[in-house]
């Protein structure tokens, strides 16, 4: 590219919020309720704090090396062989995650809307949509995400406000009867959702940095936290903790409860499409990261040629990744360390090494 890509702070925030909230708002209320019943808000709070920590690690890493993405940092710190291997692992992670989200996306629409439409259709539609955006580059993705951000946040708030007279705040009582430790069983999962913001390690070097960049990024996590908290709270207050755990997508049931003028209801079909937008942003963010990482690592001459094969690979991978929803959710339940490993642990390790290296340089 001849022109340097830049994205604004607001676009960074929008990307963080949308890609974190996109799928988590669907699965989180049910999964958290499964672990902590009526105290699921507690998991969100703790997860939010961990998410902030995660963000700080990534930001700090970026402060050490302002114009390197995480792959470049890997090779810089650990040498071309070991670091290169780790960078490849990261690329693999991005690729893998993109196909996971694509699968989530199609699974969600099959369940929430129409089980008759074949899954392949949704997968293809999603892949085309995202490949198209990746083709146009990061700036375009960022600009679209701004609009998506506004639409999504407004819709979410509207959903929660429209249900306000159906809430039973007493469903939250008693608070933390099991103590502070027991509900933390689901913490890994909560962390992995907030950790979805790790793709910013690929894009943060393009952000036009000002004093408030950190503030915007934090605000992104803050908004995510609030939205997720609201979705969890309203599910608990509406259905009760135990019932929430039995729904596949409690947020959709929430929408089904909205009723206007006595007989206009079932808005779920219409509002569900908001999740098309947010999934789109999320898949595209990871797709782009994978694409960028791949073209950097392999030093591709015409990277754009690789978009269509990549998209096709995503479709096939997602199709045969898992058999169905049960396997999908159980993977998230038991294997969430896999996500957290790449989101938090490896970056922390890199940060650790980086700080030692910088200190040594200084002392010399």
């Amino acid at each position: 590219m001849d022109r340097r890509i830049t994205i604004s702070n607001f676009q960074l925030m929008a990307l963080i919020v949308i890609s974190t909230i996109g799928t988590s708002s669907l699965y989180a209320p049910a999964t958290f309720a499964h672990y902590a019943e009526r105290n699921s808000w507690y998991l969100v709070v703790v997860g939010g704090i961990m998410g902030l920590l995660n963000l700080l690690v990534l930001l700090k890493l970026n402060k050490f090396y302002p114009d390197k993405n995480i792959l470049a940092i890997c090779t810089h710190l650990l040498g071309p062989w070991f670091g290169g291997g780790l960078a490849f692992l990261f690329v693999f992670y991005f690729l893998d995650l993109s196909s996971w989200i694509l699968r989530e996306f199609s699974q969600f629409f099959i369940i929430a809307l129409n089980p008759i439409i074949p899954q392949m259709w949704y997968l293809i539609a999603g892949a085309i949509m995202c490949a198209y955006a990746v083709y146009h580059g990061l700036e375009v993705v960022a600009r679209v995400s701004e609009i998506v951000f506004i639409v999504t946040v407004t819709t979410f708030l509207a959903i929660y406000v429209m249900l306000i007279n159906q809430y039973h705040p007493e469903y939250l009582l008693p608070i933390l009867e099991e103590g502070l430790i027991k509900p933390l069983k689901g913490l890994m999962l909560s962390m992995s959702w907030f950790g979805d913001l790790m793709f910013i390690s690929m894009i943060i070097q393009y952000v036009r940095k000002t004093k408030s960049t950190t503030a915007y990024a934090m605000a992104g996590v803050g908004i995510t936290f609030l939205l997720l908290l609201m979705s969890v709270l309203s599910c608990t207050m509406l259905f009760g903790g135990e019932a929430t755990a039995t729904f596949t997508y409690p947020s959709i049931s929430l929408i089904q409860n909205i009723r206007l003028f006595r007989n206009i209801e079932r808005f779920d079909a219409a509002l569900v499409v908001v999740w098309v937008m947010s999934s789109f942003t999320k898949i595209t963010a990871y797709f782009w990261s994978a694409f960028r990482g791949l073209s950097d690592l392999l030093k591709l001459k015409q990277p754009k040629r690789w978009i269509i094969p990549m998209a096709a690979a995503f479709v096939i991978c997602s199709r045969y990744k898992v058999w169905g929803l049960v396997e999908l959710t159980s993977f998230y339940d038991h294997q969430s360390w896999y996500f957290v490993l790449f989101q938090l642990f490896i970056p922390t390790m890199l940060l650790f090494i980086a700080s030692i290296k910088e200190n040594m340089k200084k002392s010399r």
Partner: protein
Amino acid sequence: MDNNKAMLTCDEDENKRILREWMQNTDDLVMVSSAIDLGQSVTVCYLAGLIDGRQLDQMLLLYKEDKDRLPAFQVDAKVHTFEEVANGLASGMSVLLFDSDGYGITIDTLGVQLRSVDEPTSEATVKGARSGFTESLQNNIALVRYQFASPSLKVEYRIAGQLSKTKMAILSVGGITNPDILQEVHQRIDEIPADAILGSNYIEEWITDNRGTLFPLLESTERPDRVIGALLDGRIGIIVQGTPFVLLLPFVFLQAFQVSEDYAWSYYIGSLMRLIRLFSGMVGLLLPAFYVATVTFHHELVPTTLLQSIASAKEPVPFPAVVESFMMMIAFEIMREAGIRMPKQVGQAVSIVGALILGQAAVEAGIVSPIMVIVAALTGICTFTLPPTAINYVIRILQFVMTLLASLLGYVGIMVGIIMLLTYLASLRSFGVPYLGPAAPFNLSELTDVIVRRPHTKNNKRPSLFRVIHNTRFRSKS
């Protein structure tokens, strides 16, 4: 031509002969010799019909009285080559050829009957100025100057088209317009290789950023006030000779929903009208798709009573909803096209046939359902609220695409369409300005003058979107 640089000679007959050759021996070339002074005779050449004869006479008399008094003559237009003479003649000049000297003088005597200043037909208003541009370049510039009497208004002439030699004027405001964008415009216009420019759209297609796009990346308008408003926002106007449509650039998508009348009403009314236009733009784009998706995929959303009505109305119709909607939409497009092309005298017949056959008989015959008629009619009317020069043709095309997507994947299909559309729009640029601005990149304070209308008293900043040099309109005292 081998003798491109052929100079005028001092021989009268020779001049006449060569000139006639240059002009393809055309019959309307008039060459009259007359003696102005003692011993000096002059040949007056012009194309008959293209010049104002009385003006020419006056000029000649003036010239006879005082050879140095040449304000009305294009003094600097002393021509020396046959090519210059021929080009001058073709663009409506009269040329005086002196047999003693090797040069000629061109006199601007263009006299063509043109339309007078009229109400702009494509952008009619209830309140606000009623004069629109005409086909005359000079007159159009005068119309702008008349309302914008400031020395900072800059007009630059350019000529494009190898054969048509179309004159155009680039309007900008010194101290506001970004010189980089202006430079870019000059460069792009200078690079136009076309042989003829027969309207502003020719220019538009040559200088636009993305030639394959469906969306207009330049705005065209018939209204002087709109041009002035755009100039004050730091945009650039291009007036092309021979067309009443003036090009404005850069152009961003959301401006397609603005009309100059918004500023003629109180800002509440102006804002409301603008919101209605935005809304109906969306309805025009999505309503048929939404209807098709709802009745084929998402039956739950419709209230039970309404669904019952729709179902019983749809009962005799054998076609799927998507076919039905395509039929109605195409029928509507045909009627609209017919409405524009048909002579006024048969208008009544066409409208009766259209309304009766498509509105009633088709329903009774069980070809379409009445709900579909409502949907098609509403969609059609919604697109009429938008200014006709910009987006509404695009919306009409895209509504077909959206309907197709809706019939495949329901609401998800519509959403996929919208997202791809947004991605596409976000990737467009008009002279370096992001097409979706100021919505993306997001700028709240500028959105307040795009989606709604800001009061004039609060409108103290020019949009930074067009990278203006000086972005304060005025300093408010309070």
